[in-house]
Symmetry: C2
Subunit: 303 residues, 2 copies
């Protein structure tokens, strides 16, 4: 195999439809090589020549010793936004590593909105009450309209934007707090008892990111102490993909003010293809000499 | 009591805060008289002189013989959108009757969106599965973005608009069908087996209006036959307010593809005050000689 230009090396299998998406998003910036279609020797050659490696999980898709072959690549591009559970320490230090930040944005945003609205309208609670024959037509529901901006005026079209230094301000003002940050040294345990106590009694916390960003026991205590506070938990502390099992150390699922989903906020129709396109567009940037987005600093690599 | 101008007669009790809303929305068009603060004789005089009567339910708020005193009023304005269960036949035939159409629009729209999103993201189903320890992270979810316009293109900003003659077209195209029509002779039983069969296998039907607009048994059959079809039922066939009890003749609540709420889509924060303002603004139109909105034709009066 010969390469006139450093190719985009894809570490996972691609259907014909998804190959077409890759080619389209790459816009001729390089050729595409699928590792899963090559034998051992050809894999090594492709990796040594790679311009960019596109991967879901290097620790599962690369074989022993293959990561070192990437030393002259321009970028290692992940397909997912949260790479905290991937051993980035095994990758060549000199090669930039990028997440697919925002790759699943629409699907996760709809999921977060669905959970926040289900909490505001108490859908799961009243669905359960109806099963018991209780028809609570006149219990008050929350409105979300007008609640997402800083000043609480409904004709304001600009959402609150702040840096992490202003987190306390955000916590105190938020009716709905959606956590969509990556898990890093800076965000691990970021929301603990002190932060939860700053929040409104009837706030809605939605976590579609990583369980570890919120401290588990303080969140449970907050929910028990404030029946009007709701947690919408999509991202858990111990989950199948990252830990091999689903486990919770506090009985969140017995609480009426918890809405739970199995970390599936990224599974909306078409989301995987949109995400693939975004990841490949970042590969194209690296291959054509542009600065890629979402590059993770060495100090942000957890594993 | 003397009236320089025909007053707005309010048939129900008002808090000071809600009196201020009435005065503000009336904008000086007339004086306000609260029936509940008057003795028998003063009630009769107020009704005889009424410019407009504002009421939730004439059959509960007016005493025997009082409806006839309204013969020279300009309008009988209801506080709610759905007056199908109110005996309008007891009111003077010559006086226009108006609903508060759109009075609860924001609250009901958020509720319908909450239910449709909960269906699309299968929130109740997966919440239940998590309770059983099942973590179905990779089951496909629906997206709602891009699904509400006629052509299915995401850059289209104009929603589908059609007259009832184009109902079949709408049924075939809809990913989410929200029923928010009043119950009239024209809408009773409008959605039956033939209409449901036209809908997509995986469509989401949301009813925040009246149960009777959808035929109960055909809907149940549709749900049993198509596990991917979801019904979000806020409005039921036999309900406490209209019928004195909650009863369903098909076991909808045992189905996994039903999301149920107790007809509480109008109970969002602030919705009652916004609705009051809209009803009084319609009273003001009648009092100042403008044509009131949402007037019900004699042939549309069900009772």
């Amino acid at each position: 195999m010969e390469f006139s230009r450093p190719p985009l090396v894809v570490a996972f299998g691609l259907s014909e439809k998804r190959k077409a998406i890759v080619a389209d998003a790459l816009a001729g910036a390089s050729d595409v090589v699928c590792l899963t279609e090559l034998d051992e020797a050809a894999r090594a050659e492709a990796l040594r020549n790679a311009g960019v490696l596109l991967t879901f999980n290097t620790s599962k898709e690369l074989r022993s010793g293959e990561a070192a072959l990437l030393a002259s690549a321009r970028l290692i591009q992940f397909m997912i936004g949260g790479v905290d559970f991937i051993p980035l320490g095994e990758l060549p230090k000199g090669v930039p590593v990028a997440t697919n930040g925002g790759g699943y944005a629409e699907s996760m945003a709809e999921h977060a909105l669905a959970m926040a609205l289900a909490a505001a309208k108490r859908l799961i609670l009243e669905h359960g009450n109806l099963k018991l024959g209780q028809f609570n037509q006149f219990t008050h529901n929350r409105m979300l309209a007008g609640g997402v901006n800083r000043h609480g005026r409904t004709n304001e079209r600009v959402d609150w934007i702040g840096t992490p230094e202003r987190l306390n301000e955000l916590l105190e003002a938020a009716d709905v707090l959606v956590i969509s940050a990556p898990l890093t040294r800076a965000t691990r345990g970021l929301i603990g008892a002190a932060e939860l106590h700053r929040m409104k009694d009837d706030a809605i916390l939605v976590n579609v990111a990583r369980g570890e960003i919120v401290q588990e026991r303080p969140l449970y205590d907050q929910l028990v102490r404030n029946p009007r506070f709701t947690a919408c938990i999509d991202a858990w502390w111990i989950e199948p993909v990252r830990h091999g099992e689903f486990r919770i150390d506090q009985p969140f699922l017995d609480l009426p003010n918890v809405i739970a989903s199995p970390h599936n906020s990224a599974q909306g129709t078409g989301a995987h293809n949109i995400s693939l396109r975004r990841a490949v567009e970042n590969c194209r940037r690296a291959l054509t000499g542009e600065a890629p987005l979402h590059v993770i600093g060495l100090d942000e690599r957890l594993m």
